[in-house]
Amino acid sequence: MNHFPEAWGRPRNDVYGAYDASHLQSSMPNQHTQSPIVTGTSVVALKFNGGVVIAADNLASYGSLARFTDIERLKQVGTHTVVGAGGDISDMQYLHEKLLDPLIIKEEYQNDGHHLRASHIYRYLSRVLYQRRCKFNPLWNTLLVAGWDEGKSFLASADLLGTTFAAPALATGFGAHLAVPLLRRVCPDEAAVENITREQAIAAVEECMKVLFYRDARSLNKYSLAIITGEGVESVGEGAAKEKVTIEWKKDVELQNQSWKFAEGIRGYGAQVV
């Protein structure tokens, strides 16, 4: 054993040769993230009468490599909210483990009847993302925040630039192109939300996950689905606001009733000649 703790546990120089540290001193300055590495694709969400449904598949890609097939990209934050993340997986994990989990723990430790709900968490995430983009060190994600807030369903989006917007039907990444048009057919505007049942909403989102799997090369046929439902808030009077929020999870859902018939008609790719 030598006297230098920093050398403990390292391969011995006399046996293995000195450690080649050349890669540690780069002639280049430190770089912030300029592109994501391990990524998740779309998150899809839709409001319905009494709640929101949100879904994301379980794949984390490394470029075109399907690197991890058991990644959970939806996560419950607090009691009223589910956050879905597309984009860089490590940034998503940082967001949850270093920011949101401690935030919720701090909030709940106060034990004063106040809780962070969907709109609060959404504002917090938006500010974090915006502040990071202003430091030229973005968290490379597009987030959907779904939840229940003040007697209404809540759904909004925030991305790595700090861009924020809300709509009754939202999808990130490839889903913005493929899923949103399908969802808008079910739910063109906020007024339509009250005519959509929970079952209809789930069916619409499941259909989107299928279409995305057909066409998005970075997607997977296994996904998670969270259904957030709430019952109205009684007018605040004595004591705490009373609302009952339940979050139902469906994990490791496999795509059902796939039909690849359409693939027969595709020409111009692969081995077929005519």
Binding site: I37, F136, G162, G173, H177
Partner: protein, 257 residues
């Protein structure tokens, strides 16, 4: 490590703001995080003598995508004053500027014995905020309006680094369809290129202040026309009217295609 193929769709393909990946030097392609985007939309402000109208469409876009059909661009800077701010450009910067202004107006109120900031003070402050970000500009084009202490309508418009005219303006437009709208307002608010019929094009039509009904009509016409000709404009139209009796908001539909 950089794998160009992993660039998520939608970030570098904003067509109206396309920046080609630059060759920094030699053979390496430098990938750079672009902190800006354009979220489309247009705003208009028109003053009368003792009222002002600020309006903006409610479409929020990223490239060819419509993110939302219901994102408002016109903000009241407090519940008990006449200050109204419309911002357009990069959505995140726009909202940040609006929030900064709301906060400043609120701070001012509580620090000055519940007296509200005057519109000229708010105008100067907004310029200071924008210029304060001179070297990392807020990509937000602003129009600020309100009534001054005599009840006269004031309207100021800014570029993204805060330059504005202290005298104010009678009308302004900013955003993606402003180039379509400005000439229309020149003609309809300032009566540019209009002549007294009997003068054979010799005598200019005298400029008179407009009434609120006409102004709101002009705003609606401007936006329905802009919606026809510009893909980033449409969905809804938020119109905020400030008069001595208070501030009212109206939201009407625009074409959603």
């Amino acid at each position: 490590m950089s794998l160009p193929s992993m660039q998520p769709l939608g970030y570098d393909q904003s067509y109206s703001f396309h920046t080609p990946t630059s060759k920094a030097s030699g053979e390496y392609t430098q990938h750079r995080f672009n902190p800006y985007t354009d979220n489309g939309g247009t705003i208009i402000g028109i003053t009368g003598e003792d009222f002002v109208v600020l309006a903006g469409d409610t479409r929020h876009t990223s490239g060819y995508n419509i993110n939302s059909r219901t994102e408002k661009k016109v903000y009241r800077l407090g519940e008990d004053n006449s200050l109204v701010l419309a911002t357009v450009g990069f959505g995140a910067d726009s909202k940040d500027v609006a929030e900064t202004m709301m906060r400043a107006v609120n701070d001012f109120k509580f620090n000055h014995n519940l007296k509200n900031m005057t519109v000229s003070a708010a105008a100067q402050y907004l310029s200071t905020v924008l210029y304060g970000n001179r070297f990392f500009p807020k990509y937000a084009n602003c129009i600020l309006a309100g009534l001054d202490k005599d009840g006269k309508a004031r309207l100021y418009s800014y570029d993204s680094v805060g330059s504005y005219s202290k005298e104010g303006e009678s009308r302004a437009s900013a955003g993606s369809a402003s180039s379509l709208i400005v000439p229309f307002l020149d003609n309809q608010v300032e009566f540019k290129n209009q002549f007294v019929p009997s003068s054979k094009g010799q005598e200019e039509r005298p400029v008179v202040p407009l009434d609120p009904v006409t102004v709101v009509k002009l705003v609606k016409d401007a936006f329905t026309s802009a919606t026809e000709r510009h893909i980033e404009v449409g969905d809804g139209l938020q119109i905020i009217t400030v008069t001595k009796d208070g501030v009212s908001e109206e939201i009407i539909d625009l074409k959603k295609d």
